[in-house]
């Protein structure tokens, strides 16, 4: 009886050792995988690649007492922008004044940089807080209006606003 039991056990042991080679305990792995999944989801921004331009909107009606009669109003630089087609570069920019007209947003940026008064070029025309008014037309595509805004912001101007559509 005793011998019989022992041989059975030995046979069993051998067969079990042969089969259980491929058996993996998956529980711990699944735990870790889900933990990583949640970690990456929480760590990821859901609005991938979306960024913002911060703007202050001018107040609705400027009250008369805020005007100082002894301060000369700075004449704002007006930039007209119009879409000429449906492409990204199909825009027409016109700077109000006797300036060389830029043909794209990059040229507008270099124009604004060249004419800025700063430490490098003290003989410029516009201070960094010189008011710049962007005047899109009724049918200007929003991306072109934003392109012009971006060009002015890249040239480090701080007082940029959108005019009502013309």
């Amino acid at each position: 009886m005793m011998d019989y039991e022992e041989t059975e056990t030995a046979v069993n042991f051998r067969s079990r050792a042969g089969k259980s080679m491929g058996g993996l305990n998956l529980t711990a792995m699944i735990d870790v995988v889900f933990l990583l999944l949640i970690f990456f989801m929480v760590g990821t921004n859901f609005r991938l690649g979306e960024e913002i331009y911060r703007m202050d909107l001018p107040p609705e009606g400027v009250s008369p007492e805020s005007y100082d009669p002894f301060v000369l109003e700075e004449e704002p630089l007006r930039i007209d922008v119009n879409s000429t087609g449906s492409g990204r570069s199909d825009l027409m920019i016109r700077i109000d004044g006797p300036y060389d007209q830029p043909s794209n947003a990059e040229q507008l940026r270099s124009f604004l940089v060249q004419h800025q008064i700063n430490d490098i070029s003290p003989a410029g025309l516009f201070l960094p807080d010189h008011p710049i008014i962007i005047r899109p037309t009724l049918t200007t595509r929003w991306e072109h209006a934003v392109d012009v805004l971006n060009a002015a912001a890249r040239a480090r101007y701080t007082n940029i606003s959108f005019a009502p559509p013309q």
Partner: protein, 155 residues
């Protein structure tokens, strides 16, 4: 014979119960998050400026105004959170009223404006105007309306 059978090795199989628990939890999580994101983020193509000086949005409390584009260059409706507004004078004044109520509750609330790159400016400007109007309703005279224009950064 019977007892020797019982001692055969048990077939190894995973205990599925906790996995199913966790899976259902994840499904519910995804469904909820997807709804929240969808309310804020209407599907549209934001402008992609070259070399943008835009910045990442902060995690402050915010409200998102979407200028929902139609198939051409127009606007289908204005959408703030889950509220829809018709693109006419009545709808826009309602939008300003709703936003003014939000401003009253929290003057530091961030207003993000999302508009499609193809949308014509004449449809975006009324939304800017409505935000300015809402700020005008706030009694504090030093209050300045702020708006964040959403763009997409190209990698």
């Amino acid at each position: 014979m019977n007892s020797s059978r019982r001692r055969h090795p048990a077939v190894i199989h995973a205990n599925l119960t906790p996995m199913i628990d966790v899976t259902f939890l994840l499904i519910i999580f995804f469904v909820l998050v997807a709804q929240i994101v969808e309310v804020e983020q209407v599907d549209m193509q934001l402008p992609i400026p070259e070399d943008p000086v835009s910045e990442l949005a902060t995690e402050d409390q915010r409200v998102v105004i979407n200028v929902v584009p139609d198939s051409a260059h127009g606007v289908q409706e204005y959408r703030m959170g889950a509220m829809l507004f018709t693109p006419d004078a009545a709808g826009l004044s309602k939008l300003a009223d709703q936003l003014a109520a939000l401003y009253q509750a929290n003057p530091d609330i961030q207003v993000n404006l999302r508009a499609d790159q193809r949308t014509h400016y004449q449809h975006v400007e009324p939304a800017l105007n409505a935000i300015r109007q809402a700020a005008y309703y706030v009694q504090d005279t030093s209050f300045v309306a702020r708006v964040n224009l959403a763009v997409r950064r190209e990698n």
